[in-house]
């Protein structure tokens, strides 16, 4: 009845009806009870009165003992409706006269012996029994007993029905009145409600209502007006926001009719508000292909779900296609019922275009990058080609430089041997200078070659067991002579080290010799030079310290020390010979072995170079045979002038080389034949069958490698030992020579003594 959902009108009606019903029921109940009591009492009273009256009439019959008359009196009872029986008793209690309707039950319920004046009554069911004693002048003559069917229940029932009907009519009346009266309260409220709905339906205009009474409703009304004002403000604000939003916003109701269309939507589509609002214009505006998608999201919104970032194409009034990103939300009324959808768009046509442009740009950029990469790759290829060219150039250079140097040194050696006659002092001295210069030049060339190898990463470290005292001894021996010349005292402090470490022996020797040579070079006559070795067990390194009391190095110059081709003082280069490669080589050689070089120096007082060489694991290099250390001062045991009868073919395109080898080997007793080209060499080998062939590798037309393989292709020539002589001196050269069929490989410049040893080795082996 007062559920929250029913309207105030209903509630009011209900209140009034309920109140009325309560009052009516209560009042009528009281009336009913009173009335029932009243009619009951009335029946009783009337019956008693009648009984008494009849009793009076019976006084004389009783007095005069005239029952006929009493009977006559009682007979009159038949005119009394509902009477059942009337009995007159005499004073003895005997029935004096009696009247009863047919078949009536006349059971006497009241004691008639009560002699008091008065009447007695009682109800049994609907039957009223009344007994009245008959008195006359204070004397009792008998009593009368009346039984009446009062039909009171029936009467009460009838009455109740009537009362119920009355109540019903009263309630209807109450309803009619309530229905009329409630208007005084509900009408203003309904009015408020309607206006609220009006506002809610976004109807424009001033919606204020007046209600002049000074009651709660008018207060509510006042508050409502304030609320309306604030709502209007908010509505204006919201409308302004929507209107000025930089995004197309529109709203539709449940049947798809457009109800809102903001400025931006107008701008974008070209359709004005008047053209679309109140129409189902989305059909025209949305591109047919997008329409299905649009319908889907609208349906979704109608079922309460929001959706976002849906891409839809619009067709503008001027038939342009624009790309819109839609966000859709359900529109709800105050009770939460979905009444439509609100759609907010975002014109992404430009963005899409930018995206495409960006995509295009990206593609072209990728193309450019590809082009650049290609160019770079070309450049890289060129660079690597240049590097290779550089390597080749260096290799060529060293070959080209070494080849004449070989001749110079070879000839010098030959002359020094004085095979072709005695030389005087002066000549020997000149020869000595020639040899020294030649060897210096050779070492420079070797250094350049080494540095270029290191820079190219082509120098490989070959780890072998190195006995430290021995390598120190050998290194010191290199400078002994020069030191002695300069009266420089060479001190070595080996700290009783008897250790063998894993290191590249040749490179280590190179480092030490370089440092010691420098020390001697830059130390004044009569100075001191020293080599100290210290084992650092903790870090597993051996430190070689070479010190001197030389000119020293300025602090600011130390950083430049290890850069190639830089000699600190240009004046020095005049004073001290050298290409400035020594320390650069030392540093690089130490680094490729995992070590480093430190310098301490005081200008004018001396320098101290400390090289740390880590102990490499020997197991990894087991197969590396320790390099044979050739003592160059060792005398050649094979050197003799005896004829051996052995024929050696020398193939070299450079005449000077041919001469050097020929002279020297002839002096050693070998028979020599020569050829100046690969082809010539092959012919000579076939015709002469030499016991051994010395083959220069770099020759015009047919090179040595090809010549060797050609020679090897002849069965009869297969067993002839061939020594390849090359200035290539690059990694892989040896292999290429051996692959081609050479038995041995010797690089230029060739030490003639060494060559003789190798030749005899090969011949012995054969």
């Amino acid at each position: 009845m007062f559920s929250k959902k029913s309207s105030i009108r209903k509630k009011l009606i209900n209140i009034i009806i309920l109140s009325c019903a309560f009052v009516i029921v209560f009042g009528i109940s009281i009336i009913t009870i009173g009335y029932i009591r009243y009619i009951k009492q009335d029946i009783i009273n009337r019956t008693i009165m009648e009984t008494k009256l009849i009793g009076e009439y019976c006084v004389t019959p009783l007095s005069f003992d005239y029952p006929e008359r009493a009977k006559e009196v009682l007979e009159k009872l038949r005119f009394w409706p509902d009477i059942i029986a009337g009995i007159v008793f005499d004073n003895k209690g005997k029935i004096f006269a009696e009247y009863k309707i047919d078949g009536a039950n006349t059971k006497i319920l009241i004691d008639r012996n009560n002699k008091n004046i008065g009447t007695y009554h009682l109800f049994e069911d609907d039957k009223l029994h009344v007994c009245s004693n008959i008195f006359y002048k204070n004397m009792q003559y008998g009593s009368i007993y009346i039984i009446l069917n009062t039909k009171i229940t029936e009467k009460i029932d009838k009455f109740l029905v009537l009362i119920s009907l009355l109540m019903f009519f009263l309630l209807i009346l109450a309803y009619l009145v309530a229905n009329n009266m409630q208007k005084f309260i509900s009408k203003p409220i309904l009015k408020l409600t309607n206006i609220a709905e009006e506002i809610y339906k976004k109807t424009k205009g001033d919606v204020e209502i007046s209600y002049d009474d000074n009651d709660e409703i008018s207060k509510l009304n006042m508050a409502f007006n304030l609320m309306v004002a604030s709502l209007e403000t908010r509505e204006i604000e919201i409308n302004m926001i929507i209107e000025t939003a930089n995004a197309p916003i529109f709203a539709i109701d449940r049947d798809g009719t457009i109800v809102k269309w903001n400025k931006k939507a107008e701008d974008i589509t070209g359709y004005s508000k008047d053209e679309v609002i109140g129409k189902k214009s989305t059909m025209d505006i949305i591109e047919p292909d997008s329409y299905l998608l649009y319908n889907n999201i609208v349906d979704k919104a109608f079922s309460g779900n929001s959706d976002s970032n849906i891409e839809i194409f619009f067709i503008t009034k001027s038939r342009n296609k624009i790309d819109i990103l839609l966000n859709i939300s359900p529109r709800k009324d105050i009770e939460g019922n979905i009444i439509g959808a609100i759609i907010m768009g975002q014109d992404i046509t430009d963005r899409r275009r930018f995206q495409e442009e960006l995509e295009h740009e990206r593609e072209s950029l990728a193309q450019r990058v590809q082009d650049r990469t290609n160019k770079l790759m070309t450049a890289n290829a060129e660079l690597s080609r240049a590097a290779r060219l550089k390597d080749e150039f260096l290799a060529n250079m060293s070959h080209e430089l070494r080849t004449p140097l070989s001749s110079i040194l070879g000839m010098t050696e030959v002359l020094n041997e004085q095979i072709y006659g005695q030389l005087n002092e002066k000549q020997l001295s000149f020869l000595k200078t020639i040899e020294d210069s030649g060897r210096h030049l050779l070492s420079l060339i070797n250094d350049i070659l080494d540095i270029s190898k290191i820079e190219a990463g082509k120098l490989k470290v070959q780890i072998s067991p190195v006995f430290i005292p021995s390598i120190c001894e050998i290194s010191l021996r290199f400078i002994k002579q020069i030191a002695a010349k300069k009266r420089i005292k060479v001190q070595s402090k080996l700290m009783n080290i008897e250790k063998t470490i894993g290191a590249d022996e040749i490179r280590l020797k190179q480092i030490l010799v370089n440092l010691l040579s420098n020390a001697v070079k830059f130390t004044q006559e009569g100075g001191n030079v020293g080599l100290e070795v210290y084992e650092d067990n903790e870090n597993s390194v051996t430190q070689f310290t070479v010190w001197d009391t030389g000119i020293g190095i300025a602090k600011e110059d130390i950083s430049k020390l290890f850069q190639p081709f830089i000699q600190l003082d240009t004046s020095l280069s005049r004073k001290y010979e050298g290409a400035g490669l020594g320390l650069a080589l030392v540093s690089r050689l130490a680094k490729i072995q995992g070590g480093d070089v430190k310098v301490e120096s005081t200008l004018g007082q001396g320098s101290k170079f400390t090289v740390s060489i880590p102990w490499n694991n020997l197991d990894d290099n087991k197969n590396n045979n320790p390099k044979e250390i050739i003592d160059e001062d060792t005398d050649d045991p094979l050197f003799s002038n005896k004829e051996t009868g052995i024929l050696i073919l020398i193939v070299d395109d450079v005449k000077e080389n041919l001469n050097t080898f020929s002279y020297y080997l002839k002096a050693k007793g070998y028979s020599i034949i020569t050829a100046q080209s690969g082809t010539g060499g092959i012919k000579m080998a076939i015709s002469e069958h030499p016991d051994l062939i010395l083959m220069d590798i770099q020759m015009p037309e047919m090179d040595g490698l090809e010549a060797i393989s050609r020679i090897r292709s002849y069965n009869e020539l297969k067993s002839i030992p061939i020594i390849a002589i090359t200035a290539l001196a690059m990694p892989g050269d040896d292999k290429r020579c051996l692959d081609a069929g050479a038995n041995m490989y010797i690089s230029k410049p060739v030490k003639l003594k060494q060559l003789v040893i190798k030749i005899s080795e090969l011949l012995n082996r054969a």
Binding site: Y57, V59, T60, S63, F64, D65, Y66, R69, Y136, M139
Partner: protein, 175 residues
């Protein structure tokens, strides 16, 4: 009250035995008391004066005397002693409340009626048709053989007596 009960007892006794002819006198005697009971005497009469006895005079000779005396010996009317007296002369009537005219004076009745016409004395007669000739109350025997009475209303009215309608209702009325 004990007197009353007794009286009633007698009445009832008689009424049940009303068929017995001999008892008619007793019934008639009882009726006299009832007539007195239902009759209203004029206010100036001595009826209400309690100092004077209620007097029933019997004119002539009749066995009813015995019965009357028997009944009223111990019983009272209107709270007054009842005095029964037998008279023979008309002038003795005065002071009576009920005058019972016996059969024996049948011929003198008109004269007596005339004499008592305006006196507040109920004249009761046992003679047939006496009510018709001016007696206030006349006994007669019904077809069933029971005692009943007639009342001459106009004569009673003339005498200033008022018979209760209830009695009139059961009596045979003579006008």
């Amino acid at each position: 009250m004990s007197n009353k009960s007794f009286f009633l007892y007698i009445i009832l006794l008689f009424s049940t035995n009303s068929y017995a002819h001999l008892d008619d006198h007793l019934i008639k005697a009882g009726f006299l008391e009832k007539f007195a009971l239902f009759t209203e005497w004029p206010p100036e009469s001595k009826f209400k004066d309690c100092s004077k006895p209620f007097i029933i005079s019997v004119l002539g000779q009749d066995p009813i005397i015995n019965d009357l005396e028997k009944i009223y010996k111990h019983y009272r009317i209107n709270n007054k002693d009842v005095k029964i007296r037998t008279i023979s002369k008309i002038n003795e009537i005065e002071d009576s409340d009920i005058l019972y005219l016996t059969e024996s004076i049948k011929d003198n009745i008109p004269e007596i009626i005339k004499y008592t016409e305006n006196l507040p004395i109920i004249t009761v007669c046992d003679t047939e048709n006496c009510a018709e000739i001016g007696c206030h109350i006349g006994f007669y025997i019904t077809d069933k053989g029971t005692v009943h009475f007639k009342i001459n209303v106009s004569k009673m009215k003339q005498a200033g007596l008022k018979m209760n309608v209830l009695v009139l209702d059961i009596a045979k009325i003579i006008k």
